[in-house]
């Protein structure tokens, strides 16, 4: 839902205005800070209680204690195991201590794998397309671009069934090519390939590529570089910012995905963390609330870390486009 008016708001966001209207503040500065801190409390209160409750015993959670008597760190170990979040098996040779096999499984590992494939695939597919739209002339360019953009209007629920049927069909084809491992359904291709060609990513990159001065292209062409060479050695090094935005938004998108993975995964082999957490909680109602909280904290932490590290990319990317992953 990118509208023309938003680009300028994004520009304003990069440099927050230092002064608002310099009118006499009728509420009084104290009142403003009180309201703002009340807002902070409402925004992070649930998180604080989530963290606190993740260290409690079940009865402490049930009685809504504010703080646990003892920090039960083992809640996390139990939650990781019970919710099948992460399971690392290291087998070493008993005599020499040499690593023999290492197997990692669990929803966290699945989500990491899915995220990596999606983001890498998306960059490979979207960068050339965005480059073509931004810096090349070809027959039907504006029409094709408008057509691409119009697909962003279509609600996901309409696409669900055709995607499912397409994925099953292509999966059978690839099975006949690569054997049982090539199937798409309940495997990584169903979870990643439909999201490679993201119109949103193409749009974001195109807006950036268009701003690259044409002099650079002229100079590169005189030096004998064609479009591919120019893209790789000039455009890409300049585009770290939008690429970072795509990577961070892609990361939340994959980490949060629930509806589609619910439909195309049937066991734990590739099931991502959102589905795993949802199943863990709905399967053990009312259940061990402290473990549910610990599992939620584990799910939230990677996103929060990413947010604090790459805050600029988050807020700018979202403000430019109004879309979350």
């Amino acid at each position: 839902m990118a509208s023309a008016g938003e680009g300028s708001s994004a520009a304003a966001m990069q440099q927050p205005p230092l002064q608002g209207p310099r009118q006499r503040v009728s509420l009084g500065a104290l009142g403003i800070y009180a309201l703002l801190f009340a807002g902070v409390l409402i925004a992070v209160g649930p998180f604080l209680w989530m963290i606190s409750a993740s260290f409690m015993t079940i009865s402490e959670v049930n009685l809504t204690r504010l703080l646990p008597e003892n920090l039960l760190w083992e809640n996390y170990a139990t939650a990781l195991r019970r919710a099948n979040f992460l399971d690392i098996e290291i087998a070493t040779d008993p005599q020499t201590g040499v690593l023999q096999s290492l197997s990692v499984s669990g929803y966290i590992w699945n989500s990491v794998r899915i995220t990596l494939i999606t983001v890498l695939g998306s960059l490979t597919v979207c960068i050339p397309a965005a480059y073509a739209f931004a810096r090349m002339k070809f027959v039907g360019r504006d029409f094709i671009f408008a057509l691409f953009l119009s697909t962003m209007m279509i609600p996901g629920i309409v696409m669900l069934i055709p995607h499912l049927l397409t994925v099953i069909w292509l999966g059978r084809l690839s099975e006949s090519l690569f054997g049982p491992a090539g199937t798409w359904f309940n495997n990584w291709p169903a979870l990643t390939i439909p999201f490679f060609a993201s119109v949103f990513n193409i749009f974001l990159l195109r807006q950036f590529f268009i701003q690259i001065p044409n002099d650079l292209w002229e100079a590169a062409r005189i030096d004998g570089a064609g479009h591919p060479r120019f893209l790789v050695s000039v455009v890409l090094p300049l585009s770290k910012a939008p690429i970072m935005t795509i990577v961070t938004l892609g990361f939340i998108g994959s980490w949060n995905a629930l509806m589609w993975p619910l439909l195309v995964t049937i066991n734990d082999e590739w099931r991502p963390i959102a589905v795993g957490l949802s199943n863990f909680v709905t399967a053990d109602t009312p259940g061990d609330l402290n473990l549910q909280m610990a599992a939620s904290v584990i799910t939230v932490v990677p996103i929060l870390i990413l947010y604090f590290v790459a805050q600029k990319q988050f807020t700018e990317g979202i403000a430019q486009t109004g879309i979350r992953g």
């Binding site: 008016g5 069934i161 947010y307």
Partner: protein, 551 residues
Amino acid sequence: MAMFSALNRALGARRSRLLLDNLTAYLFLAPAGLLILLFGIFPVAFAFFVSLHRWRRFPDHYVGLANYEKALGNLGYILFFWLALLAFAAAAMMAKRLLRTLRTSNDDRRFASLLAGLLCGYAALLAIDWLFKLIPVIMLIPRQVRGQNTSLALFMEKLGESFSSPAVAAAGNLLLGGLIVTALVIALVAWRFRSAQSAQLASAGGITTVLLISASFLLQLTVSETEAAIAAARETGESLPIWSQLVFISAGLALIAAAWLIFRRGIKTYENRRFAMLLVGGLMLAVGGYLLMAEAPAALAAADDDLLQGFWITIMYAMGTVPVQLSIGLLLAYLLFQPIRFRAFFRMVYFIPYITPFVATSIVFRIIFEAGKHAPANRIISLVGIEPQRWILERSTIGGLLGLPDFLAGPSLALIVIMIYSTWTYIGYDAVIFLAGLGNIPGELYEAARIDGASGWRIFRHITLPLLSPTVFFLSLVAIIGTFQAFTQIWILRTGAVGNRVNTASVYIFDELQNSNRYGYASSMAFVLFALILLMTLFQNRIMGRRVFYG
């Protein structure tokens, strides 16, 4: 390089350069284009196709509009009439533009370009026809090769069989012929009869053809389906008044729309005529409203109650969240905009609920709003002396709990919890976007207003709010579409005790898909939802877009 010089000799340097540039661009575009075609554009046609079938995992048989009838009762047929009329209107608009272009030019070559366009449109329709004949056949392949030793040879054999099955092959041959003729004509036009308006004429001609033929197809489909439904009802001795319902409901809507136009005009006109216009408008509104009230329940009598309830829940959900979250977001943004310290810190913190995974935060809310006496939410309301509630387990409505009459029932308490959750997640997002919008308002305006002695509230009302209207418009559109697509929070926060009292339309559709495998029916409902979202976007664009002040 050898190829390039050969090209150079054949076409001349400039043309071969152009051709190569085009080819490079398409090569760059190919992977994304292929994927978007497969997972972005084709699915829309595919979903519509599925919605016309009984389809449980695999295509069963064609059922016409039966799925739509099951979803919306007679209104399903009526909607398709409107869709056909809309397509005809669009075709007429394109044709008018086409005729205007034809009249203004006196270049004799213009008809050649037009012919190429018409042929292109026809070829596109042939392609769709072929595709729709092919899909049900090849969609059976996964079932045919299942369990057997799947080898590429077998798959390809089945694929070959599908392409050469009689109906598909006939359509395919027609398409092939059409493509060859079209390509020849295009080549001829490009070579000999090119004029300044070629591209414009050809695209207008193509689009007109496609619109006109699809509109006729839609109308024919709707009429024949309606007749069949009426005939089937007559067999069992009932009468199905679809035609009269179509007339009355359309008339009702048209009257209301006309009344709205008259009101708008009436407010601007002179005193003496204003009263008469408002009177006429009021009368039309009353008659139109009466027609709708009288006919709509009968037209919806056979509709799927769960779907209607889903739409009603979606509407309540939107009405309960969007205004609240926008006003609180604006308030926060306005506070943040004052000369305060730690602005960046506040902004960062307010954004946290929006970026954290919805699954995890929904689980926290699930525990906060538990039914137990000691659950956090009950603890908080007990501070002000309210009795503990059952929250996410409560299917009774707010009105019911307060002892109000039935028509004031409102949402269930469980839905209120979901509304609170959604408001909580989106406030920070709204505030951040509002803050950016506030930063765009030039400071001189505030200065001028203050010199004129305007109070704080008047400045807000007459400067800030109007200049912020594009942002309000954008955010409300995003928020309303968001409520129609909401899934994760409802999936986590709904409990067995509440049943379907919190299922919005899209959650109900998903349930139908996952639990009952009714692909055809789910597709038809998804399409109705799509139409509704599209209609709302257009409506909001017209109503609110007109009031938006873009500076």
